[in-house]
Symmetry: none
Subunit: 199 residues, 2 copies
Amino acid sequence: MSAPLTRRQQAVYEFLVTHREEFPHPPSLDELAAAMGLSSRGSLHKHVRALVQAALVEPMEQRRRGIRLTAREQAGLPLLGRIAAGRPIEAIPDARAVEVPDFLRGRGRCYVLDVRGDSMRDEGILDGDLVVIEARSHARNGEIVVALIDGAEATLKRIEQRPGEVILHPANPAFEPLRLRPEQVAVQGVVTGLMRACR
Amino acid sequence: MSAPLTRRQQAVYEFLVTHREEFPHPPSLDELAAAMGLSSRGSLHKHVRALVQAALVEPMEQRRRGIRLTAREQAGLPLLGRIAAGRPIEAIPDARAVEVPDFLRGRGRCYVLDVRGDSMRDEGILDGDLVVIEARSHARNGEIVVALIDGAEATLKRIEQRPGEVILHPANPAFEPLRLRPEQVAVQGVVTGLMRACR
DNA sequence: CATCACCGAGAACGAATGGAGAACGGGAGG
DNA sequence: CCTCCCGTTCTCCATTCGTTCTCGGTGATG
């Protein structure tokens, strides 16, 4: 590759990735600039040019069809790691992409986790399943969430939020529900889909 | 591939896709222009020509009312029907396509079924899940199969083939294993993958 | 302080785009 | 034959938008 991205170039790229769903069409320079709070098309164009250079964005030679990410990024969602009840998410070194059908994806930024353990067995989530996670920090009661407990352990549980208390329900009689104070629990995302390859 | 679509061409195409049901017949250029708020047939025709070029719309050589979408190449697999233990597969009239990642597909011809009922609950297959089936007539022991019993009822079960006997194991204590003679059981396919959208 | 990388505003240019409308031609129906 | 409908092609025009420029500001570094 060529030169590494500067901070702002990175920001533009991340904006494109996370907001790709929100643009009905690929945005023009003006639209993107407005969305990012810039008022100069020219400035933004400089960043986009760098992204084109880095092969992250399709070059648009004088064409007016908007700013598109290169095809590679469209294909799949990143497999970020393994999640096992009671341990931090174990990152997978080379985060390969996993093909995920649209109807399993959430609205916002999504990623995929590999489930370890049987704590959600009764919800039909088994060891080795891939869950699709929509990254958000709030959940509705009854959703299955990736929760970070005390900033250390990550777990997959059905959430119930009450005044002054958060209950994380496993789906396996062998495990107990966790009753926690709200400040102990940080929601990292909610499950929007599940995939299992049967061998 | 030719040049990618411009924004307006994209919009015309999307309009055609989303409103295809609303036109009893393929629309004329005038109708389509009016529906999209254009007052010039010629302008619209330019866009349509681009879509023909992109093989998204059938070319209409001088024919009237001729704007029709090309038969989409479906990347997905057909959703053939619902399967509920103890009944024939209930075919879905308009077999829509379901997007299925490669790693959930088997080697041969595949299709998708919508699971009804909880007879495989303990295998993590719940009511409403979509299972990917590889069509074949033989299974290995331990695979989850679509089995046709006595030529009438279809069911999803884990198969165990013994000399002179076939046992179909449900995965729910509320159901009993079925012990059948081999000639009663016709394997129609085996489960190669599973998908669930969590709402 | 001098230098440099980075960032943003804004002006200016020119090509691509999108729309209006006129005109041609062919088929259908009177 | 005339008339309508409709696909097609054409020209003309305004606007949009990608591109390139200059200029000023900021922060890090020597």
